[in-house]
């Protein structure tokens, strides 16, 4: 299975537009899964319109400490990576909103004074679209602060069958994005040639330097954001200068067009709005396969 994640850094650059468009085209040829990992605001279902067949609670395990057994040794506080525990005023305090449910405190407690209490933080919804995309999304309950466990559970729940998995990542460059990209084979970065696009793209490139995932870029709203002709042939934006310096290929460009925005606002997939994008997405997939070959060989 090839896992392709669509990420951006900046929000609103067109991740879901690309992810749903690519999925709609590829599913005609190969079996495909679509995971909406933007668990704080999943929206791909507005375009793919899946029928949901099953839902499951997403759960993390919070520690509960038995004060009669606890000797206040503080081992749990020391091992907590997230400072969700403190030994203060003759007791162990638990801060549930900081707990990632990793279970280290429980494993490390020499007195077995800790038990785990399941705490629902969201919902996993699985189903299928009319075009037979295997669809899954995670949804974080409002006021819950921890998106990454839901993303990991969604991946586990969607078994690894199918030839390709498309992961629609959340915006930003923090934990939830890293959780989405974690086992991806390729990352498609969607950006726009504006100062905001540039700034957040740079952050994503920083993440990818760590994960060492092969990547390519799609420039959406191509042509906006002003031109900065630095006297170099073919390079017209700061985003492109950055990409050239980092040796990251531009795989596709989408112009800034009113009819695209209008169609998306009606819940249409890009290929329904402009059918020529069927061919563009097929070509994009071939370029991704090619990049996987060359970037893997280079690494």
């Amino acid at each position: 299975m090839i896992k392709i994640a669509i990420a951006s850094g900046k929000g609103g650059t067109g991740k879901t537009m690309i992810a749903t468009g690519l999925a709609s085209v590829l599913v005609r040829e190969i079996t495909l899964q679509f995971l909406d990992c933007d668990v704080e605001a999943p929206n791909a279902h507005l375009f793919l319109r899946p029928e949901i067949h099953e839902t499951h609670p997403a759960i993390i395990a919070l520690p509960v400490i038995d004060p009669d057994v606890c000797t206040l040794c503080g081992r749990c506080v020391d091992v907590c990576e997230f400072n969700a525990l403190a030994k203060i005023g003759g007791q162990i305090l638990i801060f549930p909103q900081l707990c990632h449910g990793c279970g280290s405190c429980n494993l490390q407690c020499p007195e077995s004074a800790i038990r785990e209490k399941p705490h629902p933080i969201g919902t996993l919804s699985l189903g299928q679209t009319e075009s037979e995309i295997q669809y899954g999304r995670g949804e974080l309950t409002i006021s819950e602060p921890m998106p990454a466990p839901i993303i990991r559970q969604l991946k586990r729940k969607m078994q690894n069958h199918g030839e390709i998995r498309i992961l629609d990542a959340p915006p930003g460059a923090s934990c939830s994005v890293v959780a989405t990209l974690h086992d991806a084979d390729f990352v498609l970065l969607v950006t726009e040639p504006t100062p905001f696009g540039l700034h957040d793209l740079r952050q994503m490139l920083g993440v990818l330097e760590q994960t060492r995932t092969p990547a390519g870029v799609i420039i959406n709203r191509d042509g906006i954001g002003g031109e900065v002709d630095k006297g170099r042939t073919g390079i017209t934006s700061d985003v492109e200068i950055l990409l050239e310096n980092r040796n990251i290929p531009i795989l596709m460009r989408i112009p800034h067009r009113c009819e695209i925005a209008a169609g998306l606002a009606k819940g249409k997939v890009l290929t329904e709005i402009l059918p020529q994008y069927r061919m563009e997405f097929s070509n994009l997939y071939l370029k991704i396969l090619e990049q996987l070959q060359t970037q893997r060989t280079a690494a």
């Binding site: 506080v77 990576e81 997230f82 400072n83 969700a84 403190a86 030994k87 203060i88 005023g89 007791q91 305090l93 801060f95 909103q97 900081l98």
Partner: protein, 112 residues
């Protein structure tokens, strides 16, 4: 009484730091004998829960009053549980010494 002030540097003439959990230094000051010592805040560079870790640090040092610009909700809960009083300064340009003088003169406010 042992008090702690969040600062940007390690002397009484260092400027204060208005953030509690992410301050660079704590100056621990004994109001009885006027002795003091600076400690690097071990929580400053933590990924999360810095306020809690900083509160834990001060609790372990036997601090009775923490002085900072503001306290986050987690820090507030942890400091309260430790019985550490919280006091706030307004003027971020002050030095630690000036804030201590204000505290001793009871010119500082408590969090709401």
């Amino acid at each position: 009484m042992n008090i702690a002030i969040t600062t940007q540097g390690q002397s009484l003439d260092s400027r204060v730091n208005p953030r509690f959990g992410r301050a660079s230094w704590f100056i621990l000051y004994n109001t009885e004998d006027e002795s003091w010592q600076a400690f690097e805040n071990p929580a400053e560079t933590q990924r999360g829960g810095a306020g809690i870790a900083a509160a834990q640090f001060l609790a372990d040092k036997g601090v009775e009053t923490a002085i900072s610009g503001r306290f986050g909700p987690n820090a507030h809960q942890a400091l309260s549980a430790a019985g550490i009083k919280m006091v706030m300064f307004e003027d971020k340009e002050q030095t630690a010494r000036e804030v201590i003088d204000d505290f001793l003169a009871e010119r500082l406010s408590k969090p709401a």
